[in-house]
Amino acid sequence: MDRQQTEPRISRWLWTLFFVCALAAIALFFIPAFIIRPFRHQAPHALLLAMALRQRAPLGTLIATLASFVFAFALWRIVGRWRKALLVLALLVVTFSTVMARLNYFEWMFHPIAGAQFIAQSESKLDPKEMIMAVRLGSDARAYPISQMAYHHVLNDVVAGVPIAVTY
């Protein structure tokens, strides 16, 4: 077989493989992100899919991205300028997805408390009318102002030796 026929066929295969891998990486991030977005309804089966994909996304995106780069590299030498631009654009979205699959962007909106500090109630400047969540274990009593918990949402605490999760 001469070169004229083989090259387009190889390139077609490379493009197909490239797009399959690129789309896999992109889907692994964007599908769960789209399903689990605020102020929208989450149907039970959609939520399950979102959690399943997000769970697999860190490893899945890594494999799909590495493969995408390999195929893009192979294509690079045989395609023209416009297709190179397409490759670069696709790789940018792929890389973005791979990075985002490892980052918890929910904690960018609602920062967690790293190393919670507690003060004696007599030192607190809280208004007496402010609502708090309170827990008492043994002789230890702790209050978590709702204005703070409504922002942080989760706090891992230990009260009287018992590890507890304060959630709001």
Binding site: I36, P38, F39, R40, H41, Q42, L48, A50, M51, A52, R54, Q55, N104, F106, E107, F110, H111, P112, I113, A116, Q117, F118, I119, A120, Q121, S124, L126, D127, P128, K129, E130, M131, I132, A134, V135, R136, L137, S139, D140, A141, R142, A143, Y144, P145, I146, S147, Q148, M149, A150, Y151, H152, H153, V154, L155, N156, V162, P163, I164, A165, T167
Partner: protein
């Protein structure tokens, strides 16, 4: 509030998403997904596990302070103080809802006190409760006492039983009249022993002095959220 020890291992939770406006958390140790309101593992290696509820209160700081002289308060994180919203209740109420139960008699954003006794769930519309407090009710055979605190904002739920005898409670009339001026006079009376009880559910004088009522965990929640996770819930009416 939940204990976070599962199978002998302390888990560390972080915010991981949202499910119909009730947040999802994951634990750093296994990556399992948990639903905040139920404390249940809904996906991942620990799926099916459930966190144990820790009895907690929603009180005003003023009420808690008088009850807990040696108590500690979570300090605000300086970096985020501008994110803290003391007006969160009316602000959150303005947010859209994504699930609703139009065939029920409550509106999505109506605030309820939700409780579960041996699988039977009941919701007490906050407005009805606040107007009637103390509310006496019976769920699954358990006599209940729901009381609004002297501050008009804190609430607690008790088993209205003294030494295994059902009891009824009412607000001592003079304390009702003085509630706004002298909060210390806030007192409940029971019809069984005629003892005086404070908001912590303990008898301060009378034959039952020193006894305390058993507590029932209860959650202040929006109707749509409570109903979504307790489809068989009944609604308190009177």
């Amino acid at each position: 509030m939940w204990t976070r020890t599962v199978n002998g291992r302390a888990l560390h939770f972080y915010l991981a998403g949202i499910n119909n406006q009730n947040f999802l958390m994951r634990d750093k140790e296994t990556g399992t997904w948990w639903q905040q309101i139920t404390g249940k593992a809904i996906y991942g290696p620990l799926q099916g596990a459930a966190l144990e509820l820790v009895l907690s209160d929603e009180l005003t700081f003023g009420e808690w302070r008088t009850e807990s002289p040696s108590g500690q308060v979570l300090a605000p994180v300086a970096k985020y103080t501008k994110e803290y919203d003391s007006n969160w209740e009316p602000d959150v109420a303005k947010l859209p809802v994504v699930i609703s139960f139009p065939s029920t008699e409550l509106k999505s954003r109506d605030v309820v006190i939700g409780l579960t006794i041996a699988g039977a769930a009941r919701a007490y519309p906050w407005e009805t409760f606040a107007k009637q407090s103390p509310v006496l009710d019976r769920v699954n055979g358990t006599p209940l006492l729901l009381v609004l605190g002297p501050d008009g904002k804190s609430f607690r739920v008790f088993v209205s039983r003294i030494d295994s005898h059902d009891a009824e409670f009412f607000l001592q009339s003079n304390s009702q009249a003085d509630a706004s001026t002298d909060k210390k006079d806030w007192t409940l009376l029971d019809t069984l022993t005629n003892s005086q009880w404070n908001f912590q559910g303990c008898a301060t004088s009378g034959p039952a002095q020193g006894k305390c009522l058993d507590r029932i965990p209860a959650l202040k929640d929006y109707w749509f959220d409570w109903r979504n996770y307790h489809p068989d819930t009944t609604i308190y009416k009177r």
